[in-house]
Amino acid sequence: MTRALVLRAAGVNCERETLLALEQAGAVADLLHLQQVISAPSRLDEYSLLVFPGGFSYGDDIAAGRVLGFELRTFLGAALAGFVARGGYVLGVCNGFQVLVDTGLLEGVSARPSDRTIALTANVSGHYECRWVTLRNERSACRWLDAGVLWPTPVAHGEGRLMFKDEATLKRLEERGQIALRYVTREGASASYPELPNGSTAAIAGLCDPSGRVFGLMPHPERNVTPWHHPRWTRTAPRPNGEGLEFYRRLVAAAGAVNA
């Protein structure tokens, strides 16, 4: 049984659908406030999956994910590094991805946050945007994801454009198998706006760390779980659930193998 911890702080607002998706995917999921973990970091030991859900942590003030990222760096840096080093899985969705990027956890466990080479910044459109897009699982260090699969997911963000320090960063991420998800057209071809909703470099929608256990993505798989989430469900045959559930099932299963 996978035990998942969903971490919240002021402004986190996707905990409902995230908990529902995790539970439906077979996990036992708890919701804790950041302060509860800061005051007892050993609570992380109870879990094999740590989830930073979407929202506007601290209002996205300064920059999306910055303040929560700062707090994690300041108060839980070692605890998080230890959690990952022990084989724990970490998922950051949307604002959670922005937080993960800010902590430097996606750079690889040894990197210091100040050496960060990855950034998420304002969409090229200049504003927040909510729409459904198509993702393609890339061949990556995330072996729990089925490479090549196309699946629909909603995005809803204003700062989802991935940018890198330099060309070498992108090359390194590719070589290490850290590029896990790309925006594509419905048919799987290379995407431009609006299928690529934010202008992300190389159309990247999700990244993992070199181990494949720390994973962040801008889209919201937990908002494509019920039979009726998809905006075109009225145009298709009845479906048992949304494609996002499969994402969580695989993640929960992979994290469940940690303790086994």
């Binding site: 607002n13 529902l20 929202g55 209002g59 910055r66 809803a156 320090k165 908002r223 009726w228």
Partner: protein, 1035 residues
């Protein structure tokens, strides 16, 4: 990352003795920037007049660290590019590029090392950004010096909030510094500002007048912002303290009528002479003068906003006496319908109906018109924040699960020269209110799922903003009570001078007001504080840690505490209220409308637990007094009594006004319905018309997916671009029962015939929810009136008519009103002319959807399916889009057949509930042709329709063209319905006895054709229809 950082700095603050430098500026850089760029080029002298403080101005730089964060030169800057475009739109050219910087002022308690750490670890993205730092009391490096390093010339405009206006980012930084101990023990004060650096296109600098205009029209809103052109002297002080904190008495016992009126006017009390006389009589009997706090409390409680004096007063309607219009019409309908599923109507902060399995849903819609006219962004944002607090404050509190919004604005393409003085351009207003709703709703994690935009020239000076919120609550949380002895606890935001006399200020002439008045009347929301309130409140609710809750809205604490304690009494120690800054008088604390606050009644034995719950969420909660059994409202400040009022006089003492109303003159002229020589071109023109065209640019900026309850989204179809009729949500994960949320409004009908308009917009709201699967027998509706000045008899007469229309329609459809709101003084004076808004009734509908799996969207689904029209078409073109295109006035406004319409809705619902309907779209603005076009392009399927058999009411064929009537009439209670051939027989049986006709079929051709027999009326490619619909204003 502290230990890794310093080697990247060119210098730290400590290494730069202040006296050696004209300005102390450090440049923090991301990791990859070459050292050469990092040099703070003290040797570069300023080359342009900009940015060197004028010697004439004895200004001083702020006594604060100044950190300015910019994107690195090689990183593109979408905000800067958008600013160039925005300037161009208002006719300011000559700008090559703009870059935006984010500025921070931090108080000098923060040491140099700590400041460097804060800048590099918190304020800066090390990959994309650089920072310039200036020490307290120093002038920043001249912009041109910095720019010269990059081979550019730049001129600066700085924008920051006026003193005392909410700055949420600054608050967040102050709080995180406190938590992190980065600032040591020192409490650091923070303000933020925005830097716009403009690079001129030509050789010379931009003229100062041009920069001033850019600041005024694009970068700053004078009411809430201060801007600095060629000036670096940002403010860093607090708002000036106000009146001395002593008991102030207002001498009115001996005042004559003139003096009473003057007191009301000068004190911004908005009390009428009758009301002032009632107060005078009360205090004469009491043998004392009122204190300022007492008078303010009475003014707030008796305000139109809180008391709805017009709606609940006495009206002389051409000799007919109407005692309490609200009670006689809207409430009467609800009372008469007496639906058992109506749980709580009209007396709480929102209407509550039964939902499912021990859960109720509630709905409230608010108007926020005048604040939005002055500051669209802040006004709309705080409107959203306010209605969310209504939902948090209904019963013991509900969880907000959906927002709605509606805007009524002037034409987006209004030529600049036609803009009246003192008005913002409708474009700017619309963008501002959209951004305000977006930034508040999205941050709260509440999906914005339904609404609308209506354009009309009469809204230019007085736009309307409606914000709605739907909540979900356990059924046993519907009731609240207050017991004497309970602690009065205020939670959430701190109290400042925000919003004092907001309501009265907004009715004064704008732009002539002093900075002090305007900065207090208009507010900026702080959604993250409200999110904390939500998180803490719902947890405290589930632990039953309080007995009652209400929101702090208009009137602030005075209204909230006054209402909660109305039946028992209350005493408050005003010095306990947490303040944003010092210097508020007791009366100001008491009536401040500062946002994001709520008031709880907490049993003393639960107080400690409640305070702990809020503390755990980082949300301030403070006991400020207690409820009593004295029947009095007692206000103290540091032990001194500053006000004492009998609750009875406060709530019942106001004289009821008598207003005169006269029956509105209904223009019965009818030009007839002219033939349309090219119905295809007309259909395309109608799709492009502002009130029909796609609002996708707005919808996409709202998170309509958060919380994961969505079943039908605002946009439907193969390319997600079809305008859905209503949203459907599945609030409980284990139940397939849903709710549908829809709305209706039509100011053009309102101008023709207010009674008909009321019926028609109720019909429209109901059509919308029924079309998606809502059950008309389980539908509640909300009324929101925005009207012109109801002291004018003809305006009030129109209100009487509309209210009577509401009653008749609600009774006919069996749909009770559960909540409502009115805003009755919407006019704008421009020169000698006063322009009233059109009578605007915005109706919202909330329907139960028995099974979300049976929800129906509006896009055509499958070639070969039949298309039916349901409902009768009449020659009703008054206020229609067709007439607007032809420039015609007159004509009868659409009015539903109240005997037949409810049966039509029930019949359609029965068909949907049986799964017989593939697609359904209501016919509204633009009529049948527009609806058919929307269904076709949304489904990416063609259709061939023949209107020969369309059910038509009687009409004078000599004056009305049959084809135009069929295609473009806006008669009520009509739908286009797609039905699979195999379901057709049962569908037709289900609709037996109603008006319907099968008018064609869906096909796989990529065009829509509408014919009458052999005559082709409309023949258009789907792509052309889609392009037209997408061809409107796009923000």
């Amino acid at each position: 990352m502290g230990q890794g950082a310093p080697d990247r700095y060119h210098a730290t603050a400590a290494e730069h003795p202040r006296e050696r430098l004209p300005a102390l500026h450090l440049v923090l850089q991301g990791a990859c920037v070459p050292k050469s760029c990092v040099l703070a080029s003290n040797s570069v002298a300023p080359t342009a007049p900009i940015s060197t403080p004028s010697s004439a101005a004895p200004k001083a730089p702020p006594q604060a660290w100044r950190v300015e964060v910019f994107r690195r030169p090689q990183v593109d800057d979408p905000a800067g590019a958008a600013a160039v475009a925005a300037l161009r739109e208002v006719g300011i050219g000559g700008v090559r590029s703009i870059r935006r910087g984010q500025g921070y002022l931090l108080s000098p308690e923060l040491g140099a090392d700590a400041l460097a750490r804060v800048a590099s670890q918190l304020l800066l993205d090390p990959v994309l950004e650089t920072a310039r730092i200036t020490a307290p009391g120093q002038w920043p490096e001249p912009a041109n010096a910095a720019a010269a390093r990059e081979g550019a010339r730049r001129q600066r405009i700085l924008v920051m909030r006026r003193r005392g206006v909410m700055d949420p980012t600054a608050l967040t930084i102050e709080q995180v510094l406190q938590r992190s101990a980065l600032s040591g023990a020192a409490v650091v004060r923070v303000l933020t500002f925005v830097v716009w650096e403009l690079e001129p296109l030509g050789a010379g600098p931009l003229e100062r007048a041009v920069l001033e205009r850019a600041a005024r029209e694009v970068f700053a809103n004078d009411v809430v912002d201060e801007y600095f052109v060629d000036d670096e002297a940002l403010h860093f002080d607090f708002p000036a303290p106000s009146a001395p904190r002593v008991v102030q008495h207002v001498p009115l016992r001996d005042a004559d009528e003139r003096e009473l009126e003057r007191l009301s006017r000068d004190g911004q009390l908005s009390l009428s002479l009758d009301e002032m006389l009632a107060i005078q009589a009360h205090y004469r009997a009491r043998g004392a003068e009122p204190t300022l706090a007492e008078l303010e409390t009475l003014a707030q409680t008796w305000s139109e906003h809180c008391k709805h004096k017009t709606f609940t007063g006495v009206i002389d309607y051409d000799g007919e006496r109407i005692d309490n219009l609200l009670k006689q019409t809207i409430k009467a309908a609800t009372l008469e319908l007496n639906k058992p599923w109506c749980v709580s109507v009209f007396h709480d902060n929102a209407g509550v109906i039964e939902f499912d399995q021990g859960w109720n849903v509630c709905f409230k819609v608010e108007t926020h018109n005048h604040p939005s006219a002055i500051d669209p962004y802040g006004g709309a944002g705080t409107g959203v924040g306010g209605v969310i607090r209504d939902i948090l404050g209904v019963g013991l509190g509900a969880k907000p699960i959906a927002n709605t919004d509606a805007f009524f604005v002037g034409p987006a393409d209004l030529p600049a020269e036609k803009l009246p003085k003192g008005c913002m351009h409708p474009r700017r207003i619309l963008r501002g209110v959209v951004a305000g709703v977006r930034d508040y709703g999205n941050r709260m994690g509440i999906p914005t799922v339904n609404g609308g935009v209506w354009f009309h020239p009469r809204y230019i000076g007085n736009p309307l903003v409606y914000a709605g919120c739907v909540g979900l609550m356990p059924a046993d949380c519907t009731n609240k009570s207050v017991e004497p002895g309970d602690a009065i606890v205020v939670v959430g935001g701190r109290t400042g001078r925000d919003g004092i006399h907001g309501a009265t200020f907004s009715s004064l002439e704008l732009h002539d007001e002093s900075q002090v008045v305007s900065s207090s009347a208009v507010q900026i929301g702080d959604p993250i504080t409200e999110k904390r309130v939500t998180d803490a409140l719902l947890r405290a609710r589930d632990a039953r840690q309080y007995r009652a809750v209400t929101d702090c809205g208009a009137g602030g604490l005075s209204s909230a505490v006054g209402e909660m304690g109305a039946e028992c009494g209350a005493e408050v120690d005003l010095e306990l209220v947490p303040l944003k800054y010092p210097g508020l008088s007791p009366a100001e604390i008491w009536i401040s409308e500062a946002q994001e606050r709520m008031v709880l009644a907490v049993p003393q034995e639960k107080l400690a637990a409640l305070l702990a719950t809020f503390r755990a969420e980082g949300c301030e909660a403070t006991a400020i007094g207690r409820f009593t059994a004295t029947g009095r409202l007692d206000l103290r400040y540091r032990g001194e009594l500053v006000g004492s009022l009998e609750m009875h006089f406060l709530h019942e003492g106001n004289p009821r006004p008598l207003r005169r109303a006269t029956r509105p003159v209904i223009d019965t002229s009818d030009p007839g319905v002219p033939a349309c020589p090219d119905a295809t071109a007309m259909t395309l023109a109608l799709l492009r018309a502002p009130n029909v065209a796609s609002k996708e640019w707005i919808v996409r900026q709202y998170d309509h997916e958060v919380q994961g309850m969505g079943v039908l989204k605002p946009l439907c179809g193969e390319r997600d671009d079809g305008p859905g009729d209503a949203a459907v949500l599945q609030p409980l994960p284990h139940s397939q029962r849903g709710i549908a949320i829809g709305c209706g409004a039509n100011p053009d009908y309102g101008l023709r015939d207010p009674y008909a308009m009321a019926c028609a917009v109720i019909d429209e709201a109901l059509r919308n929810v029924v079309a998606v699967g809502g059950d008309p027998s389980r539908t509640a509706i909300l009324d929101n009136f925005s009207w012109g000045n109801c002291k004018k008899p003809e305006q009030l007469g129109a209100l009487v008519e509309a209210s009577r229309g509401c009653k008749a329609a609600a009774l006919a459809y069996q749909t009770p009103f559960i909540s409502g709101k009115d805003s009755l003084n919407n006019e704008f004076r421009s020169g000698d002319e006063t322009i009233s808004i059109p009578p605007t009734l915005y109706v919202s509908a909330l329907a139960i959807v028995p099974d979300v799996a049976r929800s129906v969207s509006m896009d055509f689904k499958r070639a070969g399916d039949f298309v039916y029209v349901l409902g009768m078409t009449h020659a009703e073109f008054g206020g229609s889009q067709y007439f607007a295109q032809l420039g015609l006035s007159g004509g009868r406004a659409p009015r539903p057949d109240l005997a037949l319409a409810p049966r039509t809705l029930r019949g359609l619902h029965a068909a949907i509930a049986r799964g017989l309907v593939r697609a359904c779209h209501d016919l509204s603005e633009g009529g049948l042709a527009v609806a058919a076009a929307e269904m076709a392009f949304a489904g990416e399927l063609g259709a061939a329709l023949d209107v020969t058999s369309l059910p038509l009411g009687a009409f004078d064929a000599a004056r009305n063209d049959r084809d135009a009537l069929a295609l473009f009439s806006e008669s009520c209670t009509r739908f286009l319905v797609e039905v699979a051939p195999e379901s057709a027989a049962e569908f037709e049986r289900t609709l037996a006895g109603l008006d319907w006709a099968r008018i064609g079929a869906v096909n796989s051709a990529s065009r829509l054709t509408i014919t009458r027999g052999a005559v082709t009326l409309v023949d258009a490619q789907l792509q052309a229809l889609r392009a037209a619909h997408q061809g409107g204003f796009k923000g």
